[in-house]
């Protein structure tokens, strides 16, 4: 054997021993809303996912993550279903993530079950969603989680009559039911309720009806993002503050990234939610700093970004634990009971329901420097989805 060949053989042998683990490329299919009026929501998700990958790629080395990003165009279950089908059967992704809108998640459920394809839900917050497929796990929130304690808080805060105005789809129905149950059981009175259309709503007539009912407060849920801003503007224009009618709701109506677009109307609005960008914890400060470094000093990550961020943390966790080879059932087993220190505080995936357990914070919108912020004034630790507590699985 010539010396040259020996060297090559030695090098090849060394290469085999130095790299004992085969590097796997894990394909993650992300279904989210990137076009149309709700594009800003998907954009936050996308930015969070990209940033997480950038900062944490070495956590799973030598394995790599490949994101296949697809646009579901908004609340369009048919599109979401077709995209999921394509991601599963053609792109052959190993795991799915994302989903802003509840109906889209519901349309994917039968597919996830049939293909044994885990979906990490990064937003869609209707309680029933996780019961629709054993391959769903949620890292975001449920409306019951925020709206039920909100009802209890409202009564404690001395509010006795409330008008509810919610968007007419799954999460809205949940928010209305949760708040009404907690508030009336505490002894409060519902002065009236309306449901507003999901597509292209004009909020003025609904707010006028709320005003005519003359309640002490209006409880509202609309999808986070531009709709919430439009609602807030209409609320200001109808002179609700002058009529001494307060506004309360889940945090979706005053998300951190939309606050700068809302003017002064939200000042004093009290909401219950799992994340505020000014939450005081080292993890959150680090997250905020990384975000501003990547996307500019004025960029504000809201709960949509945190949902996607934690969703990626969950996906990285299952990749690491399975050494790059993802199996549907094993992935779900690993997600159950997964604990994590999120920018929002400590979170856990409930092993029984695959739904999130997290702190809920009572927050009031106040001026912080020149900008508005959701200042936390109280904490309810480790809230399980109340709907699942009241409706245990049969």
């Amino acid at each position: 054997m010539t010396s040259k060949l020996k060297i090559i053989a030695a090098a090849a042998l060394a290469a085999v021993f130095v790299q004992p683990v085969a590097a796997d490329n894990v394909k993650v299919g992300i279904i989210t809303t990137l076009s149309g009026p709700n594009a800003s929501l998907g954009q936050q998700m996308d930015q969070a996912i990209k940033l997480y990958n950038k900062l944490h790629a070495r956590d799973i080395a030598p394995h790599t993550v490949e994101i296949v990003l697809r646009d579901d165009t908004g609340p369009a279950p048919d599109v979401a279903r077709r995209i999921a089908q394509e991601l599963i059967t053609r792109d052959r992704v190993n795991i799915l993530g994302g989903v802003v809108f509840t109906p889209n998640a519901h349309a994917i459920a039968p597919l996830a079950t049939e293909a044994k394809m885990p979906l990490v839900i990064m937003n869609a917050g209707t309680s029933v969603t996780t019961t629709l497929s054993p391959y769903f796990a949620r890292v975001s929130f449920t409306l019951w989680q925020s709206s039920f304690p909100m009802g209890q808080w409202a009564h404690q805060a001395g509010i006795r009559s409330v008008f509810t105005a919610v968007t007419d789809y799954g999460p809205g129905h949940d928010a209305e039911a949760a708040f009404t149950k907690a508030f009336t059981e505490a002894g409060g009175k519902i002065a009236g309720s309306v449901r507003m259309p999901l597509a292209n709503p004009d909020f003025v007539p609904f707010i006028q009806r709320a005003k005519d009912a003359n309640p002490e407060a209006v409880f509202t849920f609309v999808p986070a993002g531009r709709q919430a801003t439009a609602f807030m503007k209409a609320f200001g224009e109808r002179g609700m503050r002058e009529a001494n009618i307060r506004l309360i709701g889940p945090g979706d109506i005053v998300t951190d990234e939309e606050l700068p677009n809302m003017g002064d109307v939200p000042l004093g609005v009290v909401t219950m939610h799992h994340y505020s960008s000014v939450h005081d914890s080292p993890t959150n400060r680090e997250f905020q700093a990384a975000w501003k470094k990547e996307y500019g000093p004025n960029a504000v990550p809201g709960f949509m970004a945190v949902g996607a961020w934690d969703g990626m943390a969950a996906i990285y966790h299952v990749i690491k634990q399975q050494n790059g080879k993802l199996d549907g059932d094993r992935t779900m087993a690993l997600l159950k009971g997964w604990k994590h220190e999120s920018p929002r505080g400590p979170i856990m995936i409930d092993p029984d329901t695959r739904d999130i357990v997290q702190n809920e914070y009572i927050r009031r919108v106040e001026k912080l420097g020149n900008a508005l912020a959701n200042i936390e004034i109280g904490t309810i630790p480790q809230v399980k989805d109340p709907w699942k507590v009241f409706n245990p699985p049969k």
Partner: protein, 329 residues
């Protein structure tokens, strides 16, 4: 050049299927066997081709401008979805026929009302029908699921044998078979004396009345046939995706089907196939290429089609064909 045929012989000549007419079917069957075929997308294209074909009958052949054809698509989708969800009518083929019948009846009723008008009024009325139905579907949340969509639709295997699988194999053949049957019906209609009278109505309704053609009856008839066909397309969507949302009644769907028809070429039978295939493939590819800005590309394509290719894609093919013939002569 041959001497012009007698009108009856001309109709007879059209009736005979030319080899070129089999091309779309060869392509569709061949596509299934491609190693990397996208069958869910293929099924969607076949479904929309059927919907577009139904619009071609009223718009392309009869000249009835409709901005609310999704009304019938949606009625069909909900008819098939609701009977499967609530009545346990999970046998797909009979449900498909039922959905078509319901849409057809809706076509007769709304046709008798809206077809008394024409032009802009007709356009607005067709749109209004669809908008009202959409609001109705949204409000009847207990029945239709409202904005969350109708979930939990179960569909039996076709002939008790072929299950609707995740890869879309069964749905593809199912949709292809339905489209083929509808195409035979549509082809017979447009090449019949009845079909010729529709073209006459499109060109000059007054003159058609003057020669004794029952214009209103003809229009309502074709409107009902088209509605039934659109309803079958909607039912196909409901069955193959096992989900119905209020979007099926939306202005967006009415607009999309119009765009596909204009893109492919109106009044040509095959324009529906070309338009829906090109539109949906392009939408799928562009949205993969750029999940944020793909709608810009679609818009650009439409502007180009309307500005430079009035006859749609098949119009371009025709023009090229003519040039080649002239160049040869």
């Amino acid at each position: 050049m041959a001497t012009p045929l007698h009108p009856i012989d001309q109709l007879g000549a059209w009736h005979r299927i030319r080899p070129l007419e089999l091309l779309p079917w060869v392509l569709a069957v061949g596509y299934y066997f491609l190693p990397n075929s996208n069958l869910p997308l293929g099924t969607e294209i076949l479904t929309w081709a059927l919907f577009t074909l139904s619009l071609d009958l009223v718009l392309g052949y009869t000249g009835i401008v409709s901005l609310g054809h999704a009304a019938f698509f949606g009625i069909g989708a909900y008819a098939a979805g609701l009977v499967a969800r609530w009545l346990g009518w999970t046998e797909p083929i009979t449900a498909l026929i039922f959905a078509g019948a319901v849409s057809g009846v809706a076509g007769v009723i709304s046709g008798l009302i809206v077809l008394r008008t024409h032009g802009l009024t007709l356009l607005m009325l067709t749109m209004a029908v669809a908008v009202m139905l959409k609001e109705l579907a949204n409000k009847l949340g207990w029945l239709t699921g409202g904005a969350d969509g109708l979930q939990g639709i179960v569909i039996d295997p076709i002939f008790g044998q072929f299950r609707f699988d995740m890869f879309g194999r069964t749905t593809y053949w199912y949709a292809l078979a339905v489209l083929f049957l509808a195409w035979i019906v549509a082809r017979r209609i447009v090449h019949s004396p009845f079909g010729r009278s529709l073209v006459g109505i499109r060109e000059n309704a007054t003159r058609m009345s003057a020669i004794g053609s029952p214009v209103m009856l003809r229009m309502v008839t074709v409107y009902a046939i088209s509605a039934a066909m659109a309803g079958v397309a909607g039912a196909l969507l409901a069955q193959t995706t096992r989900y119905v949302t209020v979007n099926v009644l939306s202005l967006e769907y009415s607009g999309d089907v119009l765009i596909m028809l204009v893109l492919g070429g109106m009044g040509r039978l095959y324009g529906a196939f070309a338009g829906s295939a090109v539109f949906l493939v392009l939408r799928d590819e562009l949205s993969k290429l750029s999940p944020y800005y793909w709608s810009f590309g679609i818009g650009l394509l439409l502007v180009a089609t309307v500005l430079f290719a009035r006859g749609g894609l098949l119009g371009i093919v025709d023009t090229l064909w003519d040039r080649i013939k002239r160049w040869r002569a």
